[in-house]
Amino acid sequence: MENSQLKERILSLVPEAEIVETKQYFNAIIPKEKLHFLAKNLREAGDTSFDYLFCLTGLDLMDSLMVVYHIESTKYHHCIVLKTSTTDRNNPVLDSVTDIWHTADYHEREVFDFFGIKFNNHPDMRRLFLDETRIEGFPFRKDYVDEINIVER
């Protein structure tokens, strides 16, 4: 499908989506309540069939925490980027997409480990890499300070 048709499909499913053009893949910024619904639709519809999630990234914009999903269809080879964010920095919660793409399991645990974002309906929400007893807090946030372990340069 062409980019214009994909944009129309997304806007028809979620009218509040914001489409941003970039040089590479076009971005669709989705409110967090609608993400799971849109993702499920994009995966199951026969003419889009986005069955391969190839990158799940967490991002700390200073006022909000964002998660970026790069998805591709193995049948038609078109790729888009979905983004969703939450402004609550003390207790951020988003919906999990583990039931749609199984690879999101470990990647969402990684995002929780580094940024603190919890995901609803995740089968096993706990830290993946870091050891709770030695490192507290969420290291990839921009306001993380650790005077003991980090030698600044």
Binding site: D131, N149, I150, V151, R153
Partner: protein, 179 residues
């Protein structure tokens, strides 16, 4: 160091702590000869230096000719632990437990820049331990990132030299030996 100094046994005598004793020097040199020529390491490799350690054991730079005949999987049966790779906060208690499980006399070789002092991960990393000597006492440091297999062999030869200085009159105390 120069080849002459390496082979010179008078220089070694300066480092000997216990003085000579006619009855025990032959026994000492026999035991030290046996110990230094059959050092069996533990299979322990965390990252890139582990591959250079494997390459050192392969057919081109064979370290089995130095006495490192087999790798032991269990720490109870090993003599030396070659810490090859970065140690992070989560791995540190595991390393300490492995070191404690080894039986005396035991030696440690810190291989690679990460094990010596934190290496390329010294600045701005929140989880790397800046040198494995913060956890266990180290006998020989082999710098490099990663060190060539020949450098590891040189480190093993230095360890053999260090073992030849020991004596059965004084049991080995790693905390005094290793600076």
């Amino acid at each position: 160091m120069k080849e002459e100094d390496f082979r010179d046994s008078e220089t070694l005598d300066i480092f000997k702590k216990s003085g000579g004793n006619i009855l025990l020097t032959t026994v000492d040199s026999l035991i030290n000869w046996g110990r230094s020529n059959s050092i069996w390491p533990l299979t322990f490799a965390t990252s890139c230096c582990g591959i250079e350690m494997m390459a050192c054991g392969a057919s081109r730079h064979d370290f089995s000719r130095f006495g490192i005949e087999v790798y032991r999987a269990s720490p109870r049966q090993a003599d030396v632990i070659v810490v090859a790779g970065t140690i992070v906060h989560k791995m540190a208690p595991v390393l300490k437990r492995l070191y404690d499980q080894m039986s005396e006399p035991k030696y440690v070789i810190a291989m690679g820049a990460c094990a010596v002092s934190g290496g390329p991960f010294f600045y701005n990393s929140y989880s790397v331990i800046k040198g494995v000597d913060q956890i266990i006492p180290v006998d020989v440091y082999v710098p490099g990132c990663p060190p060539r297999p020949e450098a590891l062999l040189y480190g093993v030869m230095q360890l053999q030299r260090k073992i030849k200085l020991e004596s059965i009159r004084e049991p080995r105390n790693p905390l005094k030996d290793c600076l």
